[in-house]
Symmetry: C2
């Protein structure tokens, strides 16, 4: 008799974004005329840049000719893409990352979810609170979490590191020993950035304790100025303690194109076992590479035209973020993030709970955001807005928020 993976049953019922969709749908049914503006889910709205479209059309044509057809590619990604990533994302910033330390995939969410597989079940997992739910849920599914505590909204075996306005939404290094440490900067959902000094302290901690940092840098393209590190490999010693995940979703609008990558340095060894070799085995056994057409699209992201067009696209979203940040500040709301990230993290007014504010905003202003409590206990009393809408909608949303005051 087959038995199921009981760890799945520990997950609380509703996924955050399903619950949001459900409430919006219910509201819409009752108010069919309402012009709802969504600043909730982190999906982009701007079309794919012309240089990337051109590369995709060309790749499609290649697939139609037996002389240029591409079947199975290397599971780790084509060299043309791994080479340009190493050069443009790492060497250009002084990070020593080789092309064969880069594993191309169909998205950072998959990598972030799958990476825990190469570690034993005995590792202590540490996450920020609030946190992107995938870090926690995938460890729950694997059996690394212990039970869910309804009262605290937390899993008993996971170490939660509070990110609050007191610590600038950057977690303090824990007193307990953490093995697998998930860090995401610029942060989803708080929009907070980490300084190089702060990140260096984490790298030093990990090297001292034999921990591994799983660094999610999906939002690095939004970083402003030269003070904030774009990669954990800008820190000394990161090659012996860090894995980095990157996405093309937010820097090139690939949420529907699907491309990401994971960097594992060859010096990253635990118990004499190379994590690079383990991930390579995983990739080769359970994955068959990203589509050729999509990898050519990824390559075009780094072309001179692609870069120029994407700078503009990111500027578009960044100016949305500034619009929200300034508008809400002027209106007297307490707001964070939005400078180095496409996320604005606002304190709910009048001590409202996150979900109460969600319902209030939906019914009074026809605006959809994301309740902070959906990201963890420390997110209670906060609310996430994203900068991925159109200028027009963002402007209109800010006006509606101002009117609420």
């Amino acid at each position: 008799m087959v038995t199921v993976n009981e760890n799945y049953l520990k997950l609380p019922g509703n996924y955050l974004f399903s619950e949001i969709a459900h409430r919006v749908e219910a509201f819409r049914e009752k108010n069919p005329g309402a012009a709802i503006i969504r600043l909730g889910i982190g999906d982009v709205t701007q079309p794919i840049a012309p240089a990337i479209l051109k590369a995709m059309h060309k790749a499609v044509d290649e697939m139609g000719d037996s002389r240029t057809f591409h079947g199975y590619g290397p599971e780790q990604g084509y060299e043309f893409l791994r080479n340009v990533i190493a050069k443009e994302d790492f060497l250009s910033r002084g990070c020593q990352i080789e092309a064969d330390e880069i594993f191309v995939s169909d998205g950072a969410k998959c990598d972030v979810g799958n990476i825990q597989e190469i570690f034993s079940l005995g590792n202590k997992v540490a996450v920020c609170d609030p946190v992107y739910p995938v870090y926690v849920d995938t460890n729950v599914m694997a059996g690394r979490s212990g039970n869910y505590n309804e009262k605290t909204g937390r899993f008993e075996g996971i170490l939660y590191m509070p990110c609050t306005k007191e610590n600038g939404f950057v977690p303090e290094i824990p007193k307990e020993t953490a093995d697998l440490i998930y860090l995401c900067f610029p942060n989803n959902p708080t929009g907070a950035a980490v300084t190089k000094e702060q990140l260096q302290a984490w790298v030093d901690y990990a090297n001292k304790n034999g921990s591994v940092i799983l660094y999610d840098a999906a939002y690095e393209a939004y970083i402003e100025g030269d003070e904030i590190p774009h990669s954990i490999f800008e820190c000394e010693g990161a090659r012996t303690c860090a894995v980095e995940m990157r996405s093309f979703s937010k820097n090139a609008g690939f949420t529907g194109v699907r491309l990401g990558y994971t960097v594992i340095p060859k010096e990253l060894v635990r118990g004499k076992v190379s994590l690079h070799a383990l991930w390579n085995r995983r990739h080769g056994t359970k994955y068959n590479g990203a589509p050729y057409i999509v990898q050519r699209a990824g390559e075009a992201v780094y072309s001179p035209e692609g870069k120029a067009q994407l700078r503009e696209q990111i500027q578009y979203y960044k100016s949305n973020a500034a619009m929200i940040l300034n508008g809400l500040t002027q209106a007297g709301f307490e707001v964070y993030g939005g400078v180095h990230a496409p996320y604005i993290w606002m304190k709910t007014p009048d001590g409202m709970s996150s979900w109460k504010f969600f319902d209030y905003l939906l019914s009074e202003a026809h605006l959809v955001g994301t309740p902070g409590s959906g990201f963890g206990a420390c997110g209670e009393g906060y609310f996430r807005l994203t900068a991925f809408g159109s200028h027009e909608n963002t402007l209109e949303a800010v006006e509606r928020l101002k009117e609420l005051r």
Copy 2:
């Protein structure tokens, strides 16, 4: 201190296809002039059909316009694709499969590798011998295999079901109870097909014992005539005991485009838990959907033009298979498969081991195939040839093989 997943270390060193690549490379270095023909790896060579190219170009254009841009799609796949799959692959054959029982993915290899996650570690896994290595390796990585026995070439905790010429390469139902049963028909590597009666016996066995059959139907497009089932859901009672995996790689040449799907009926329940719900949770948490462009390509596979063009493409490969089968039979080789599948399973001549024949074929005829022993102990003394080459190369390969006799 981080500890690694020790189960990975149980996997024997070399992956079959890496070893082949290594030996071919070594030969090529010594014999730079040799015209090597590869009938080894199961990769297609014909370009993508025009109807599919057209759909992809259109989808690329849609991605370039904000009015038709597609960001995150449903993790389970777009309705337009799930609907046409349900209609064309199942309803048209009298199988009751609903669109929302279909989970679209970036390939059958991923699904086949990931599906074991939703089951507990205590399940007894049964596989055919010879077998597609992914079934075994992913269970080893998860910790469901026990140790590897160097002498037998088998994992101690896995139930291997011999597929030999005596049983027509269709395994007998085991005396021990098997929980998770991997079946692949038409089979990789033997090319054998299963009759409806044989498959029905497996379904009955699974329902009686509470087992679950993980049915890999990646090669169904090569089935000849009406006797052989295309889907396990043609069998009565399969909705309560079977999961089916399908690929677009071999029916539409998508090895580099990447698309597949998994069917889990809603009646498939174990210990009161719906496997459909578990897989849905897994898909939603660790996956973000196949690219929009690729899903539109998948849709075009079922268009009238797409169907006509792909029938021709499959006929091309099928005539290669017939060429190999007939040529080798005439030359006095003992050959199997090749009728309902793109694989020809030949007995090595003169009692040579699979790898000895590999080396012999490479050095004497400059031909590359796949040693049967790479697929399991019962594959020793066999050799796999594929029909995915060009007509010209296949014809030339058959001539060279004939000359060896």
